[in-house]
């Protein structure tokens, strides 16, 4: 098994211990921790899992490294950062929780992590929701919740000029 990470259609920013990858095709952005970043950089279609494990640094045995590489490939596959035909295996081969239970703190440092977001459109990022749907076009965002993790507007204006959806009034 010699996996290959995607190289095309991505904008990549190298940080000291992380990697930010912007997928231009899907408008998703990913933050890879050190282990996931090492596997992503190293997976060029010529390296085996053992070879990729060797990139993760000293202080871990072979089985630990290969397990971490498999898990990283699973996460990269979920994030669609591997070539379409690259074998990745499911991320659940070795869940983070069970890995932490089985191994000590040292191996926990090897655990790969990938955080992802869907990048907003300009309108979504800049939107200011309206409170009154009277006269607004259907679909106009309205009645936002008090949260910065929710979508820009929780509800939308309906054709009958009411604001619908899962309303939120404190």
């Amino acid at each position: 098994m010699k996996p290959a990470a995607r190289r095309n259609g991505l904008v990549v920013r190298d940080l000291p211990d992380e990697l930010i990858v912007y997928d231009l095709d899907r408008h998703q952005a990913h933050c890879l921790n050190r282990t996931a970043a090492s596997v992503f950089r190293g997976a060029d279609g010529t390296r085996s899992l053992d070879d990729l494990g060797a990139l993760l640094g000293d202080g871990f045995d072979r089985a630990e490294r290969v397990a971490a590489v498999r898990m990283a490939l699973g996460l990269l596959g979920e994030a669609q950062l591997l070539e379409a035909d690259a074998p990745s295996g499911p991320a659940s081969d070795l869940s983070r929780r069970s890995a932490l239970r089985r191994a000590g703190l040292g191996v926990a440092l090897l655990l790969p992590a990938v955080a992802s977001i869907v990048v907003p459109t300009p309108a979504e990022a800049a939107v200011t929701c309206i409170k009154d749907c009277t006269g607004q076009l259907p679909g106009t965002g309205c009645n936002c919740p008090l949260s910065n993790t929710a979508p820009p507007c929780d509800n939308v204006c309906f054709p009958d000029e009411t604001c619908g959806g899962a309303g939120f009034c404190p």
Partner: protein, 307 residues
């Protein structure tokens, strides 16, 4: 700022045309520049031009040329007409709103102009965020509408911080923040459906507006929950960039430049994420955080994990 010139705008060569509505009887227009974006506005009623000034983006400048990057159009029903819709607002050829009164029409127009400037400003990356200055460095509060940005910014200004924006952090290529000091939009009322939005100046809170660009010292990703204790976790630089990218207006249009500006903005900043209670209880702690030398803070000692 200057006096708005009276001239009918036309799109720069090569920009999308709105020719369907170009044929309507526009009777007054003007052109201005904001953050390097040339904007035109036209009306079918010349009297409306005089009402436009307060709705322009901060820092606008009159344009000598009538060639613009985007045209906004406001068509109002003739006085005395018994129309349910008083005003129609267009961005290019796209209708954006059917307004029941002029106030609503100008409100939509103002928001549309700001969004266009935020998306298209050359050399600037607009992040939806409140901003204040403190001891020569900036505190950013990114967040969606109604996430409590303005409330926290107002509280920080009351506590002595310098007002920069309650809507956009304008980042340059070096990651410094420039002011976008429009009036603060303070929401009053218990429910989104019944609230009133009041415009307040920084001076109303005993503060003033900043002018010069500042490096970022602190980014606060706070969601409001009544009664919550502010116990934030500290994000890594990558996590911080990802969180801020979710509020970055031109992220899809210019991902490389956006990421570079964000990377430089957070390079020397502490980035905290957590739930907050009342803004008054958090503001002093945030200001204290910035006053301390980097790396000595006890706030946000936790670390955030990733999937």
């Amino acid at each position: 700022m200057g006096i708005l010139p009276s001239m009918m705008p036309r799109l720069r060569h090569g920009w999308a045309s709105s020719d369907r509505i170009d044929r309507w009887a526009w009777r007054a227009g003007t052109c201005f520049d904001a953050y390097g974006v040339r904007v035109g506005v036209r009306f079918n009623d010349p009297a409306l031009l005089e009402r436009l000034g307060p709705h322009l983006p901060p820092g606008w400048q009159p344009c000598a040329s009538s060639e613009v990057d985007q045209i906004f159009s406001v068509w109002v029903s003739p006085r005395g007409a018994r129309a349910r819709t008083v005003g129609r607002v267009y961005a290019g050829g796209q209708r954006r709103a059917l307004a029941k009164d002029l106030e609503q029409a100008f409100e939509v127009l103002e928001s549309e102009i700001r969004q266009t400037v935020a998306a298209a400003a050359p050399g600037r990356t607009f992040v939806h965020a409140g901003v204040v200055g403190w001891h020569g460095r900036a505190i950013l509060v990114p967040g969606r509408s109604r996430s409590g940005k303005t409330t926290l910014v107002a509280e920080l200004v009351k506590s002595g911080a310098v007002y920069y924006s309650d809507e956009f952090a304008v980042l340059d290529r070096r990651g410094r923040v420039h002011p976008f000091a429009k009036s603060l939009s303070i929401r009053e009322g218990g429910c989104a459906r019944h609230e009133i939005v009041r415009r307040r100046r920084a001076e109303d809170f005993g503060g003033f507006c900043g002018v010069r660009p500042l490096p970022v010292a602190l980014v606060v990703l706070a969601s409001y929950r009544p009664g919550a204790e502010w116990q934030p976790v500290t994000l890594t630089r990558g996590q911080a960039m990802l969180e801020m990218l979710a509020h970055t207006v031109p992220a899809r249009l210019r991902p490389e430049a956006s990421l570079l500006a964000l990377e430089r903005a957070v390079a020397r900043a502490t980035v905290l994420q957590g739930e907050r209670g009342e803004a008054s209880a958090v503001a002093a702690r945030l200001l204290e955080q910035v006053r301390q030398p980097a790396g000595t803070s006890r706030v946000g000692a936790g670390a955030k994990g990733m999937r």
